[in-house]
């Protein structure tokens, strides 16, 4: 998985973005902004100090002005590069936010007045929670809300980028509508549910803009470590003048400043917030909105994934594949009755039964449809007193009650079990009190899902399939798809209980859901991804919203979370490993005056003490913009066990971090010497 496949990615470095980022980098020199990042703040502080010293030195006509001026210049560039990295990360979000804001500003609403059916046109900004608005073909929905009347086909491209329209209707789990989306057919009445400034669009603007960005727990811990390292180097460098005095010499302040700034972890500190913003941004471009950076980090830590069977593990709809009559019933009779029972059923399953049954009579005019409900779990037709039904085996047997023949019930159960064991779903068909047989509905497991699960297992993530199916069917599909465990006949309460049980064991759990009854579980899960097609309650409860409403994405979200943490770790390791080479550049340069024998430490054979110090500080500054693309794109991520990931990343970023500056500093030193800069 990689971010590039998610949606067409704008180039990292378009001219306009670069110019805007450069301007923002200057604005971010404001101390109130800088202080959020202790290491960069300290760098700016010593840059200021060095500038003052430079001016003083220039006024008093001191020597080595050119060298000192170059040092000061590179110190400021170090700070600016850090600001630039952050501005780059924010840049793409800002452009997106501006477009969203325009959409929001243009919205108008037709608000219903009283119960008369009359309406008035008002700006969307004046709507209050509870107001009713009317939206018709071609109009934009003015506010987040719930459809209370009507059905409409809505184009949500404005927020999801997906132009295929979706159905929004009153009642059920597809009632939520979002401000800024367009009704392309029919008319609906919407009750406003989001207060001004609290809507989905507002949240999205704040999110992509990074305005509400707060440091995540892991980022705080890392900042503490980096501040600690800064303190250690302050002690190590701050005591040097005293030690040098003992040796009978002195070290110039600008040189000490150069040593200090190259040692403190400026590289990772400069890129830290850019990494965080880019991580959120990758999710946004993947059409997932995380409500906080904390949620993205938690995604990387997930131990258990609860996956809905339908749509994630199997392709959405089950298809009728066989008619299995009871002994003594002809197949033709079963086919005819099953077809009749499905004629009024508009679900894909119902239509597939009709298709499999082939041509036959049309729906009788006097038939009254029996609708499927969660309580009865059967559907069919009532013609006079005759009930023709199909449904889950236990539901049908219960509905028939003692009317049904015992032997027939036993035979039906036996057939149903065989079907279930094969991973299909049995639907019982009855005509009045007479059981006729079973329709086999086949679940089709998605191709490639087995490999995905084995990848996840290698990463140490347990997958649990959640399904309403009976345990036999569930077990069979679980075996076929390679999922680690399953929860059959799952109710929302079961889901919640499972999450709590996993969490008690110290595990972090992710799930997705869309219905109102999923809300408690979504809120309880460490990562709860609500489907955008879902209800408002579900969208409120989850800490992420998937705009594409694709439950499969849960797997990718975990990957994105891991990638964010890995990028942070890799650049931290790289930054700290860099220091070794910087010591070998600067220490001999500083001390060779005191003890000429220390020239042996100049392993890079750098031109002169001044060029060595300059080369180190230039490398230290330039490495920041050089790593910006990596910080924004994230390190390469491939699912693997932790040991393998560690070995590879340690080799690349640990050993690479040790070696890179030796080469870089040497090259810069050669350039400085060639250009006679020092």
């Amino acid at each position: 998985m990689s971010s590039e496949t998610a949606s067409p990615t704008p180039s990292l470095f378009t001219g306009r973005l670069l110019a805007a980022a450069a301007r923002d980098a200057m604005l971010k020199l404001d101390p109130r902004t800088l202080v959020r990042n202790p290491v960069m703040f300290v760098t700016a502080l010593v840059a200021t100090l060095s500038t003052v010293l430079l001016v003083k030195n220039a006024l008093s006509g001191g020597g080595a002005l050119a060298f000192q001026a170059q040092l000061v210049g590179w110190l400021w560039l170090t700070v600016l590069f850090g600001n630039f990295a952050e501005a780059m990360a924010e840049g793409r979000g800002k452009a997106q936010a501006a477009a969203l804001r325009q959409t929001k500003a243009d919205l108008v609403a037709r608000r219903l007045v009283g119960t008369t059916g009359k309406h008035e046109t008002v700006a969307a900004g004046l709507l209050a929670v509870g107001d009713l608005v009317l939206v018709e073909t071609g109009e934009l929905i003015p506010a987040d809300g719930e459809v209370i009347a009507g059905v409409a086909s809505v184009n949500e491209a404005a927020i999801t980028g997906e132009s295929a329209p979706v159905i929004r209707e009153a009642g059920g789990d597809r009632s939520a509508v979002t401000a800024g989306t367009r009704v392309i057919a029919d008319r609906i009445t919407v009750r406003v549910t989001a207060a001004q400034g609290k809507g989905f669009l507002d949240r999205m603007i704040a999110l992509v803009e990074g305005a509400s960005r707060q440091k995540t727990p892991n980022e705080i811990a890392l900042t503490i470590l980096l501040a600690g390292l800064t303190l250690i180097f302050l002690i190590a460098v701050g005591t040097l003048p005293a030690f040098a005095a003992y040796a009978g010499g002195a070290i110039a302040v600008p040189v000490l400043v150069a040593l200090f700034v190259t040692l403190i972890p400026t590289t990772i500190s400069a890129l830290l917030s850019a990494i965080g913003i880019a991580g959120m941004d990758r999710l946004v471009r993947f059409n997932v909105l995380a409500k906080s950076g904390r949620a993205v980090e938690a995604a990387g830590d997930i131990d258990t994934l609860l996956l809905d069977k339908t749509g994630t593990i199997t392709i959405g709809d089950r298809q009728a594949s066989a008619f299995l009559p009871l002994p003594g019933v002809s197949e033709a009779e079963l086919v005819a009755v099953a077809r009749l029972a499905s004629l009024a059923d508009e679900t894909p399953e119902g239509r597939s039964i009709v298709t499999l049954a082939g041509a036959g009579p049309a729906l009788p005019a006097d038939a009254e449809p029996i609708m499927f409900t969660a309580q009865t779990r059967v559907s069919g037709l009532r013609i006079d007193d005759r009930e023709i039904i199909k449904g889950a085996v236990d539901a049908v047997l219960r509905r028939l009650g003692p009317n049904s023949c015992k032997d027939a019930a036993a035979a039906l159960t036996a057939i149903a079990e065989t079907v279930a064991r094969a991973g299909s779903t049995p639907l019982a068909v009855a005509d009045g009190s007479r059981l006729l047989g079973v329709v086999q509905l086949k679940d089709i497991v998605k191709t490639g899902i087995r490999e995905r699960f084995s990848e996840l297992r290698r990463m140490g993530i347990r997958t649990v399939m959640i399904t309403g199916d009976n345990p036999l069917t569930a077990a069979s599909i679980a075996a076929e798809s390679g999922v680690d465990d399953f929860l059959a006949e799952a109710t929302p309460e079961d889901k919640l209980a499972l999450i709590r049980q996993e969490q008690r064991g110290g595990k972090l759990v992710a799930m997705c859901g869309d219905g109102t009854n999923d809300a408690p579980a979504l809120a309880q899960a460490d990562v709860g991804v609500a489907m955008n097609t879902g209800t408002q309650a579900a969208r409120e409860a989850g800490n992420m919203v998937d705009l594409d409403s694709d439950p499969t994405k849960l797997i990718e979200i975990v990957g994105l979370g891991k990638q964010l943490l890995m990028t942070r770790g890799a650049l931290t390791t790289f930054s700290i490993a860099n220091d070794v080479a910087k010591y070998f550049a600067i220490l001999p340069a500083i001390f060779v005056v005191l003890y000429p024998g220390l020239a042996v430490l100049n392993v890079m054979r750098l031109g002169s003490p001044q060029s060595a110090i300059l080369a180190a500080i230039i490398f230290n500054a330039l490495i920041i913009p050089a790593l910006v693309p990596l910080a924004l794109k994230g390190v390469r991520y491939r699912p693997a066990p932790a040991g393998e990931l560690l070995a590879r990343n340690l080799a690349v970023y640990g050993l690479g971090g040790l070696a890179a500056p030796f080469i870089g500093i040497k090259l810069i030193d050669m350039a400085i010497t060639a250009l006679h800069l020092a």
Binding site: I220, L225, F233, I235, T239, L240, F243, D303, G569, L646
Partner: protein
């Protein structure tokens, strides 16, 4: 370097690995067992309720009260030794600054000695003062390690154990019996154990010689086992009465490593995976062998200045002929890798590179086996740091043994890691600029700087070995070194106990293939590298001005 030399080093390492397991499991028994009947009577008498599970703050408060009272008591004993019994040589009370320095030194398990034992202290001071603190300071270190182990082993727990119970058990069941056995062994090998002041002998030339004696064996046993290192005699374990021969030397070296190495096994057992402890021990031994190799190679290569004068072979300056180059290099590495500080050779006279390793061992934070208890908790702090830096690279919030490492643990670990270098470098810097400090070192130039740096390193790392050359018995050094020892000890223990409390309260994430691996060679190498890099980055500038500049000068044929 010789084959026998390497055979000794490898034999020693193998014996340490062999001893670690039984000792570690034995200590785990004291760590985990409920109170024994005899023990309960003692607690009743002391008014301690052994059933109380102390919070980290209560545990830390008990520990501090116990240690500060220990300093006060020892200070009083030293000041008043003139009127106390067992004073055959009729020594007067110890000078105030020196008494304070010595009291802090022995309570902090440092045993920095600004005095010559046989010419300053009465038998009472040695036995009832110093030796008692040798036991209690070692017990304090192990208790703090137990507390941190509990932090990792427990889940959702409010407490980290009971300090009084831990200290009592470690002293009664572990240190006292083991010291008795060792003391008897030393007596059998020729170490004196008497209350007599001295023996008078007539030399071959007919002269009269007074040979200092005393209760040496009993102090020697705990000095080594508890990684205290304070010698009975000024010459420490180079004195024939404090180290009669090869066998006593081997026993002394092993007893310095025994408990520290064993605690890694205790740790592994307590967290339910012996491999976790084995990885820590492996990382320690990796660093240890690296250090020994450098010191041994540098000492065996000798001094080019000596060679120019026709003195070939290894550097024998400041070494006992009885022990030779290999054993001296090994002992110097062991005594600084642990926080012992006992010596059989003058570290001042090691070649500059050979002397760099002992200093660097201490500057790494005494994590290479380290002091009893303190080595384990210090290496665990580094493990937390290593897990945090590298752990992110597997794409999870860093966790060690199932405990998530978050802002609080990071803050406390950073404090524990910063405190020793803060003390070492800032106090050394102070000594480098004030006249009272500059009066200390014997040598000039980089070697003189090494003497100052070594002294503060030894103090803040609670090692106590002396580089020699530095005149430490001045009010300036007595007080500054005491400050270094006190802050270097408790400035680490307190954040460590706070970490223990914070970890114990967390839930434990069960390990899986996605967890960061903290066993195996990759982790061992990573942990050792983080220790080396953090220690190296902190001290390299200072080391460059000391031993490294010194070595460069020696190589160039200059002697200062």
């Amino acid at each position: 370097m010789t084959l026998t030399g390497w055979a000794l080093i490898l034999l020693f390492t193998a014996l340490v690995v062999l001893l670690a397991r039984p000792l570690g499991l034995l200590m785990h028994a004291f760590y985990a067992r409920p109170a024994l009947p005899g023990e309960r009577a003692l607690y009743r008498a002391l008014g301690v309720d052994p059933a109380i599970d102390q919070s980290w703050a209560a545990y830390a408060a008990s520990l501090m009260v116990f240690n500060v009272l220990g300093i006060a008591l020892l200070f009083a004993v030293l000041k008043l030794q003139g009127v106390l019994p067992l004073n055959p040589q009729r020594f007067g009370g110890v000078d105030t600054a020196l008494a304070f320095n010595t009291a802090v030194s022995f309570v902090t398990n440092t045993n920095w000695q600004n005095y010559g034992g046989e010419t300053t202290l009465s038998h009472f001071s040695q036995m009832a003062g110093l030796t008692v603190q040798n036991f209690l300071s070692a017990a304090t270190g192990i208790a703090a390690a137990f507390a941190l182990i509990r932090g990792f082993a427990r889940r959702d727990a409010p407490g980290i154990g009971n300090f009084w119970v831990d200290v009592t058990r470690i002293t009664l069941y572990l240190l006292l019996p083991a010291s008795m056995v060792l003391a008897l062994a030393y007596v059998a090998l020729g170490v004196p154990q008497t209350l007599a002041a001295s023996a008078t002998a007539t030399t071959m030339e007919g002269g009269r010689q007074v040979i200092a004696l005393g209760p040496v064996a009993s102090q020697l046993a705990i000095k080594m086992l508890g990684t205290n290192g304070g010698g009975f005699f000024n010459a420490n374990s180079a004195h024939p009465f404090e180290n009669p021969g090869a066998l006593s030397n081997l026993i002394q070296m092993l007893s310095m490593f025994a408990l520290g190495a064993g605690l890694t096994v205790t740790f592994g057992k307590a967290v339910g995976n012996l491999k976790q402890g084995r990885a820590l021990l492996a990382a320690m031994l990796l660093l240890f062998l690296g250090g020994v190799t450098v010191t041994y190679a540098a000492e065996a290569a000798g001094n080019p200045v000596h060679h120019a004068l026709g003195l070939f072979g290894g550097n024998m300056e400041g070494k006992e002929v009885r022990f030779g180059v290999a054993a001296s290099a090994l002992f110097a590495s062991i005594t600084t890798a642990t926080s012992s500080g006992a010596v059989i050779a003058a570290h001042d006279s090691l070649t500059p590179l050979g002397g760099l390793v002992p200093m660097f061992n201490m500057q790494l934070g005494e994590v290479v086996i380290g002091g009893v208890g303190s080595g384990l908790y210090a290496v665990l702090v580094y493990a937390i740091l290593a897990v945090f830096i590298a752990g992110l690279m597997v794409g999870r919030t860093p966790e060690y043994l199932g405990k998530k490492i978050e802002a609080r643990e990071m803050t406390l670990s950073v404090i524990a890691i910063i405190v020793p270098p803060l003390m070492i470098l800032s106090l050394a810097a102070l000594a480098c600029v004030v006249p009272a400090g500059l009066a200390g070192p014997l040598a000039k130039g980089p070697h003189g700087f090494s003497e100052i740096l070594y002294a503060f390193t030894s103090a803040a790392a609670n090692n106590g070995s002396a580089f020699g050359g530095l005149s430490g018995n001045t009010p300036f050094y007595n007080l500054l070194l005491a400050l270094g020892m006190f802050v270097g000890r408790f400035g680490v223990i307190l954040p460590v106990l706070a970490i223990a409390g914070s970890l114990a309260a967390k839930r434990t994430v069960p390990p899986g293939p996605g967890s960061f691996p903290t066993t195996g060679m990759l982790w061992v190498g990573l942990l050792a590298a983080v220790i080396l890099i953090v220690g190296g980055l902190t001290f390299l500038p200072a080391l460059v001005l000391g031993p490294i500049a010194d070595q460069a000068q020696v190589a160039a044929g200059t002697l200062l």
